[in-house]
């Protein structure tokens, strides 16, 4: 298996966009992430961030229809965890607005806090999206321990 340049280890997962797979996805990523020196608190944070990205693919990307979610989790050479959550659903018209707190296209049921939680609980969030083509959200998180010079 040829890993991409600069990647030390990687898992790729694909599953249908169902609410019951959100727990699977966040837990599987946390188990993989345990190969790095994350604290229990950091793994809890990671679970929230992944849960938001995958829930968005289910709720907004495929809007309740059965689509395929692809999740890649990778460990980079310098010990960063990168998680990319990809759907081939409806995509986001205006990414900049979507990322703002309390911005939601489903105000009856949702609070527009998904991206806020992703930002809060990871180091960096990247969003790539095209209407009608789908969305890829990429989360970056490095264990705090690894960032303290020893």
């Amino acid at each position: 298996m040829k890993l991409p340049e600069g990647i030390r280890n990687q898992v790729v997962m694909e599953f249908p966009s169902r609410p019951e797979n959100v727990a699977f996805a966040r837990t599987a990523v946390a188990v993989f992430a345990a190969q790095l020196e994350f604290t229990v608190d950091e793994l809890d944070e990671l679970k929230v961030a992944v849960s938001e990205a995958v829930s968005n693919a289910v709720v907004h990307g495929y809007a309740g229809e059965d689509g395929c979610i692809r999740l890649e989790a990778a460990i980079t050479g310098d010990g960063c965890l990168v998680v990319a959550v990809q759907d081939r659903g409806r995509g986001i018209e205006d990414v900049e607005s979507a990322r703002q707190a309390q911005w939601t296209t489903k105000p009856e049921e949702h609070m527009g806090l998904g991206f806020t939680f992703m930002e809060e609980y990871s180091d960096r969030v990247e969003v790539e999206s095209a209407p009608g083509r789908g969305t890829t959200v990429t989360l970056y998180k490095t264990p705090a321990r690894a960032r303290i010079p020893s």
């Binding site: 959100v22 608190d41 929230v48 849960s51 938001e52 829930s55 289910v58 949702h110 609070m111 806020t116």
Partner: protein, 120 residues
């Protein structure tokens, strides 16, 4: 997630165990709604989160929806009982703890709804 509901005077106490997310938010909403519909006498909601390991924004949304129901339609109070630190942090980040009081024990929670003004 496992859920249990029981009534103490005019308070509904709902105890959740497990993870409150997109999957369990629906059943949670249904359970509370059924209990409320089943009795016009319920005014307050005490949410026992001591057994909850995980909450995300879908979970917070479901809690906030119940809060609105209780406040606007029942003129009641909502109190959250014993959230663990990571759960508490999520609730705080969502701004929910500006609306809802937190209690450490059930007794304290019941006292807070009786005072009628639990928000800090």
């Amino acid at each position: 997630m496992r859920m249990e509901a029981r009534r103490v005077r005019d308070s509904l106490i709902v105890r959740l165990n497990g993870e409150l997310d997109l999957e369990s938010a629906g059943p949670f909403r249904t359970l509370v709604q059924e209990e409320l519909d089943g009795s016009g006498r319920i005014r307050h909601l005490i949410l026992d989160l001591r057994g909850v390991r995980f909450v995300d924004s879908s979970g917070v949304g479901a809690i906030l929806g119940r809060y609105r129901e209780i406040r606007t339609r029942r003129d009641g109070q909502m109190v959250i009982l014993g959230p663990r630190p990571p759960v508490r942090r999520v609730l705080e980040l969502a701004g929910l703890l500006r609306l809802v009081a937190v209690a450490d024990t059930q007794q304290q929670a019941l006292a807070l709804v009786k005072e009628g003004n639990p928000a800090p």
